[in-house]
């Protein structure tokens, strides 16, 4: 049988390459080009060299937005990944009767984030909201607060909503991973006298370490992509306390119509996310090498 022509594989990747170019590569390249111009989205392009990058790096709001997103990511690793792992541990501790809880915990993942944000906006509303209303009702009126209007609580409040949504998502991932562990291993641990908690932390969790690492990577990269919750709940406020790169970028590009500067911000953000991915790959590879030589 005659072997296929050498260029056949290249031709086969053309459709995928075209799609990738159209949907990803093209926009990224266009954004890169825009970042070297002053352009409002309507009129002429004025070349400005690296001015937009210099401005982005020296912009205190843009710099602060990275601090806010870092805090948010740290909180979501606990509230999403940590809580998801805890929930997965709970629902896998018993072989039967957990279906309802699995569905219940996963339902928030299926809701549009804008809807979630609007609902939680009512919960946090300082004048009509559920939390302050409940606190008043049980005689703890002194604890009421303007949750989304207080710089000390706004970012935490948004993170809690994020945790409420995505803990179920990570639970589903961990649930699937834990179910891949051969039951003989857990049974052996129990026969050796390990409690359910010890079996979970000392047997199951180490065996799904790779999945947990991927979950953390997803939480980190997902944190940088966050927008909906922040936009609807606080729009970067109060006083910029919840401004993250995406909300600030949207204001710069769509409200201030400064497409060139916004493009430079987008490129900085993209580079940051790629750098974090590269660091993760490097750490992972190094850990694998050390694990292999140990």
């Amino acid at each position: 049988m005659r072997a296929h022509r050498w260029f056949t594989p290249y031709l086969l990747v053309v459709p995928a390459l075209a799609l990738f170019t159209f949907a990803v590569l093209g926009p990224v390249m266009a954004t890169g080009v825009f970042s070297f111009y002053e352009w409002d989205g309507f009129g002429v392009f004025t070349p400005v060299g690296f001015d937009n990058y210099v401005r982005a790096i020296s912009d205190p709001i843009f710099r602060a937005s990275f601090v806010h997103v870092a805090i948010y990511i740290a909180l979501t690793i606990v509230l999403e990944v940590g809580a998801g792992l805890f929930l997965a541990g709970m629902v896998t501790s018993r072989p039967k009767g957990t279906g309802f809880f699995r569905v219940a915990f996963f339902i928030p993942v299926m809701l549009p984030l804008v809807v979630v944000a609007v609902v939680w906006g009512f919960v946090y509303n300082p004048d009509f909201g559920l939390i302050n209303g409940a606190l008043e009702a049980i005689g703890l009126g002194s604890l009421t607060n303007v949750w989304l209007g207080d710089t000390r609580t706004a970012l935490i409040a948004v993170s809690i909503v994020s945790g409420w949504v995505f803990a179920g998502f990570f639970m589903a991932i961990f649930y699937a991973a834990i179910n891949q562990i051969p039951s003989e291993i857990s049974e052996a641990a129990r026969i050796d006298g390990a409690s359910e908690i010890q079996t979970f932390w000392k047997v199951k969790v180490p065996m799904i370490r790779n999945v947990i690492e991927i979950a953390i990577l997803l939480a980190v990269t997902g944190g940088f992509q966050s927008f909906d919750l922040f936009f609807v709940l606080t729009n970067g406020g109060p006083y910029g306390a919840t401004e993250i790169p995406t909300t600030y970028l949207v204001k710069v590009v769509f409200r201030n119509q400064n497409v060139g500067y916004g493009s430079a911000m987008a490129m900085v953000m993209t580079a940051t996310v790629l750098a974090m991915g590269a660091v993760y790959m490097w750490v992972r590879k190094r850990a694998d090498v050390e694990g292999g030589t140990a």
């Binding site: 159209f22 093209g26 004048d127 406020g237 109060p238 201030n256």
Partner: protein
């Protein structure tokens, strides 16, 4: 070690791969350029000389009642111009104001007529070449007969008429709950000090004196900027927003003292910077707040959302300051004919029909405040709307809101500073210095 033939093979494969990549990029570029090629309002083909014409009209959604008026105008115009089809694009307000209009004007099927705010935004569209000169139609045609000369304020650039006047909105007055004022024996304040005193009386009655939702910064931004203009004078206000003087100039810092007073007296809802404008209005509609500073659009909104609410308004009371103490903060809007349209004459004819007494009347019924003459003469206009329009026409000075009348980046910086001062997290000096630093010092 590679052989010569394998090197040649690699080079050939590299060449083919590069060729494929170039082909893919060319295809993508061709796809993009073909859509560009269709852009502009000539994409539908057709002409004004009897051939089929599609006239595209774009605006932020004016609400169901006013959309019905636009639809009626479409039916009427198409009946008398059988070769013309009118297509509307009603977008979400915020979407239209930000990304919507730029995308429409730069994309395929650009609108022939579009809604815009007079002032800085209109000037920008003019600079970018999206504004047709309609001076002849105003001077010589039927269109001009529907408006007084004053209606074109802010709509003339380089001596050319470039906008058909639409509506005029007072962007901030103080709406008040008439019943609460009556129960507490309060009269409408005529000075700033009277307003503060009345607010303290209301606060003592466990009612929020003034409610506002400022999550998006423009509600307090408009209100506080009007206060600032009264304090520092319209000329200084104009210079500040044009950056001829810095935001943290001593006179501006001093003018912000009135915002500090609002914060220190605690008469504005504590949640102001955490809730949006709808939630702020809700506090007023539900009688939890006695006053609510927002624009003229509250009338139709309140009638629908709180039909039992007994409310009226007063303009910002007089205060000690350099500005005109009966000034009104207001914005005019209108409709621009796209200079790149192939159907400029048809567009002008359509806007002429829409500005006629027939449709002006329907707009008034739909809650609009048209700038066309005759709009005030109707019997069925809401007395508060009528009063607002008369106040605007007799105002000693009209103040443009920063976000529609000036550079939006300057407006945003000022709004953030005003929110911080109202929230008590910064002094005027600190907030305005930070705001000026955002603009490059």
């Amino acid at each position: 070690m590679q052989t010569t033939s394998s090197k040649r093979g690699n080079r050939r494969r590299f060449g083919v791969l590069t060729g494929i990549l170039v082909l893919v990029l060319a295809l993508v570029a061709a796809a993009c350029s073909s859509s560009d090629g269709d852009s502009g309002s000539d994409g539908d083909s057709g002409s004004d000389d009897g051939g089929p014409v599609t006239l595209r009209v774009a605006m932020g959604s004016p609400g169901e009642a006013q959309i019905a008026v636009w639809e009626a105008a479409k039916v009427s115009f198409e009946a008398s111009n059988p070769n013309v089809t009118i297509e509307y694009n009603f977008q979400d307000d915020d979407l239209y104001e930000t990304i919507g209009l730029p995308n429409l004007l730069n994309g395929g099927d650009a609108p022939d007529v579009y809604f815009e705010w007079a002032g800085e935004r209109l000037q920008n569209r003019y600079n970018e070449g999206f504004v047709a000169d309609i001076t002849d139609a105003v001077n010589d045609g039927e269109l001009g007969s529907y408006f007084d000369a004053g209606a074109y304020n802010g709509m003339v650039i380089d001596g050319k008429n470039v906008m058909v006047p639409g509506n005029a909105d007072v962007t901030t007055v103080m709406w008040y709950n008439v019943d609460i004022f009556s129960e507490l024996g309060l009269s409408v304040p005529t000075t700033w000090d009277e307003m503060i005193t009345a607010s303290e009386t209301i606060k003592a009655a466990d009612i929020v004196p003034i409610a506002i939702g400022n999550k998006d910064l423009w509600p307090v931004g408009n209100w506080a900027s009007h206060i600032l203009s009264r304090a520092i004078g319209e000329e200084t206000y104009d210079k500040m927003l044009k950056q001829e003087i810095p935001l943290d100039a001593p006179e501006v810092v001093a003018g912000m003292g009135y915002i500090v007073e609002l914060q220190e007296t605690g008469i504005v809802n504590e949640s102001a910077n955490a809730i949006d404008d709808n939630e702020g209005a809700e506090l007023f509609f539900q009688g939890k707040a006695a006053m609510h500073p927002i624009g003229s659009w509250l009338v139709s909104w309140a009638i629908e959302s709180a039909p039992d609410l007994n409310f009226d308004y007063f303009n910002l009371p007089a205060m000690e300051g350099e500005g005109t103490q009966d000034s009104v903060i207001a914005v005019a809007t209108g409709y621009v004919v796209n200079a790149k349209s192939d159907h400029i004459d048809v567009a002008v004819d359509f806007l002429t029909l829409f500005s006629s007494p027939e449709f002006t009347g329907q707009m008034v019924e739909a809650g609009g405040t048209p700038l066309a003459t005759g709009a005030l003469d109707r019997d069925d206009i809401d007395s508060r709307t009528l009063s607002l329009m008369e106040m605007m026409q007799s105002a000693g000075a009209l103040v443009a809101p920063p976000d529609t009348g000036y550079d939006i980046e300057v407006a945003d910086a000022l709004y953030a500073a005003e929110a911080e001062v109202l929230g008590g997290v910064s002094t005027p000096e600190e907030a305005l210095a930070v705001a000026q630093a955002k603009l490059g010092g």
